[in-house]
């Protein structure tokens, strides 16, 4: 792989806190290596700002290996940038060339208020899980792990849904700011397994109820969530969620049971 260096113009959203109005600021960064990750390019910019005695840009990041779900940049109009199935931290600078302009914004959704600059508050996702995204089994209550065989196909499907990292790119990408892909991934993960079966009706009802309460928008089958999901969570999950929800409605699943 050929390595090269580039100079870039960055237009980055700056916002002091959730109450103040934000705006775009323009920055120049020089001599960026094509081998850097996108966030390493931001490290360079922030070091430059500190050297100039200016305040660096706040952005969320932690594991930098695409699994924790913390990083969350909206890059040139796309959640996590242009690479398919990739988080911001795994996007690398060989995507760009000398002279490019890159626009970087935070996730935009009413349910994800901006904390500062590119950092948003995603605690709504925790509250949706609290509403029912679990199996009610206390420590020590389990039977032998091989007591219930699970068809490999179901286990694999469940795993594919469980791969969701809770980053919120689906919400950011959706024009309605819907959280259906996130919620459906959790509902699918658990309803595909025998362990999740006893609570499947209350789970889906309560999670949907909480999702609505948090102010997330409705799903209108646009599919941007699936296209931008860094973990390839499929729209089939939403179809499954709708089936689970209808089934639970007809059988009168409670909205209060925990």
């Amino acid at each position: 792989m050929e390595h090269y260096h580039m100079n870039l113009t960055l237009k980055v959203w700056k916002q002091k806190n959730k109450n103040e109005k934000g705006r775009f600021e323009t920055y120049q960064v020089k001599n960026i290596s094509s081998e850097m990750s996108f966030l390493e390019m931001f490290d360079v910019l922030n070091e430059q700002l500190v050297a100039e005695n200016k305040e660096p840009i706040a952005f969320d990041h932690d594991c930098r290996e695409g699994i924790c779900g913390m990083c969350s940049m909206y890059i040139n109009g796309r959640a996590h940038g242009p690479w398919h199935h990739t988080t911001t931290c795994q996007l690398h600078m060989r995507e760009y060339k000398d002279g490019d302009t890159i626009v970087v914004e935070p996730w935009r959704a009413n349910s994800f208020p901006v904390i500062k600059d590119l950092v948003v508050d995603r605690q709504a996702f925790d509250r949706i899980i609290q509403a029912g995204g679990y199996v009610s089994v206390n420590t020590g209550n389990a039977v032998d792990a091989n007591a219930i065989p699970i068809e490999k196909h179901d286990a694999d499907e469940s795993f594919a849904s469980a791969a969701c990292i809770g980053c919120g790119a689906c919400v950011a990408a959706c024009p309605n700011a819907s959280a259906m892909l996130f919620v459906s991934a959790k509902v699918s993960h658990l309803s595909l397994l025998p362990q999740g079966d006893p609570e499947r009706k209350t789970r889906v009802m309560n999670m949907i109820h909480q999702m609505d309460k948090e102010g997330f928008g409705s799903c209108t089958n646009i599919g941007a969530c699936e296209a931008e999901c860094p973990k390839g969570i499929s729209l089939e999950n939403i179809a499954r969620l709708n089936r689970e929800y209808l089934g639970a409605m007809f059988e009168g699943g409670s909205q209060n049971a925990i």
């Binding site: 925790d126 609290q130 389990a142």
Partner: protein, 658 residues
Amino acid sequence: MALNSKIPAGSLEEKWEKYKSTCKLVNPANKRQLEIIVIGTGLAGASAAASLGELGYKVKTFCFQDSPRRAHSIAAQGGINAAKNYQNDGDSTFRLFYDTVKGGDYRSREANVYRLASVSANIIDQCVAQGVPFAREYGGLLSNRSFGGTQVQRTFYAAGQTGQQLLIGAYQALERQVALGNVTQYSRHEMLEVVTIDGKARGVIVRNLVTGELERHFGHAVLLCSGGYGNVFYLSTNAMGSNVTAAWKAHKKGAYFGNPCFTQIHPTCIPVSGDHQSKLTLMSESLRNDGRIWVPKKQGDNRKPNDIPEEERDYYLERRYPAFGNLVPRDVASRAAKERCDAGYGVGASKQAVYLDYASAIQRYGKIEVNKQGIENADAATITKLGKEVVKEKYGNLFEMYEKITGENPYEVPMRIYPAVHYTMGGLWVDYELQTTVPGLYALGEANFSDHGANRLGASALMQGLADGYFVIPYTLGNNLADDIRTKAIPTDHPAFVEAENNVRDRINKLMSIKGTESVESFHKRLGKIMWDKCGMARNAQGLKEAIEEIKALRKEFWSNVRIPGDVNEFNPELDKANRVADFLELGELMCMDALNRNESCGGHFREEYQTEEGEAQRQDDQYMYVSAWEYKGDSNFELHKEELIYDVVHPTQRSYK
């Protein structure tokens, strides 16, 4: 203070069983009056908080990330060990115990390791019941893979995302307790001080990272589940935010630090590509199951890897360690890679890398698939295609990650790998009950020192974190809290809370008032370089002495010239980082002192002066068969206490994987 490890009497098999049936209990009504603080929400913290909440304790959890689900346990790839013996290949609790003690180069506590092995099977049961989607065979039963340092298949996994799935299981159990009102969770909060009253841990001072406010929280007990300190090296496989601060504050309040120099360097990471590098990425140890590690036989060979014929390749692990081959433990594999690179056989632009090659695995799996599918006279292209599909199913996400980072396709070209800092076996000293030398203060998971000796085996970190949280602390905490049921919640206007908060505020104000010229990042990088060069994969007395002086000087410079932009009372990641790096600058010195004190090589601690003729680690059992437990006595002043290690069952020998 003399160390009391509180190991129960009786034979190895009886200790934990007897402890459980005779320890003191707290009745449900009293549990509701007892408050527990849990710092960190990774596998240890989330599992402990969920289990204690289920029991009825009033729990508060704190994490610096935006959600408990982000904790770095999530990044563990390969798997979790358990002595289930589902494969009928000779595994048992004893075998797992033995492998762990041997893998740790005889520097761990027998009783703790045996307990770990004996609860390992319960962990898998619990996780499956929570809905953790482990890999399964076509018969619907759980699948296992091999890992380093063992000859049985006891590792359970969920593709290359095992840590993620286990953490989500624990996180969901935790969120259920939040919903039930048993746990209150605080995200974007960082612990900056332990509050002690009458010699007992009774609370913490935390900083709300969004508003910058300091908060006081009372607890009858405080559990530190804050992970390891590998980021002292700047470059490591840890998350960017992973830090030692919680553990270090506890240390300065009287908790002894155990074996600080025991650091694990993981053999298979993506090599450093330049000065801009912010972290290193692990390629799971599970890749050594099928991948073969080699370098050219000729020094400085610049040919492309696929142009180097088979007979000119040196599969040095298979050559040196025929019994374990590519599956030797991590410390051994790392040193062997360094040895080849130092001798001039390294590959890639930096020459600081070796190859991890999947070509023969692809062929082997391809041939099996051809037979399975009944394809007659399959051509080479079909075999290769089918083989790649199998490899993709097993390791697809890892291969993708490699390609994203390096821009090279590992299905076609061998991966380049090099060792990197990964895990710290050292940590807060704890007794059998996971209690530190400060009563009421506990350490779980990677934050404690207890189970892995001088080297941790692959897939054992997840096991330990969950063992401590799900199955150990619910018993041992109760045993101690039974004596505390008459203690009412202490109001946080108690002078000890006021004083602790003032200390934290003073330190933050001091940091902000320096207004120097150099960034926090720059100091962290400089510290990391000293640590890697002189307290890294190979250490010697001379280098360690130099490192201690260099760290002292760097610390002085930090406190006179660091620049932290922004304000105290706002979201300020530079200030968060400064708080953490300030603590790393103290810890680094202690690590070097510990490494200097230990005049032997064992596990991940390799002192160049102590090696066999073949370059293997040479222990000095007659002098160093102990845990180094360091007591903080003031700036650069630490007193060494020793916990002698007594091996009743396993007889330490020179570790051999040949």
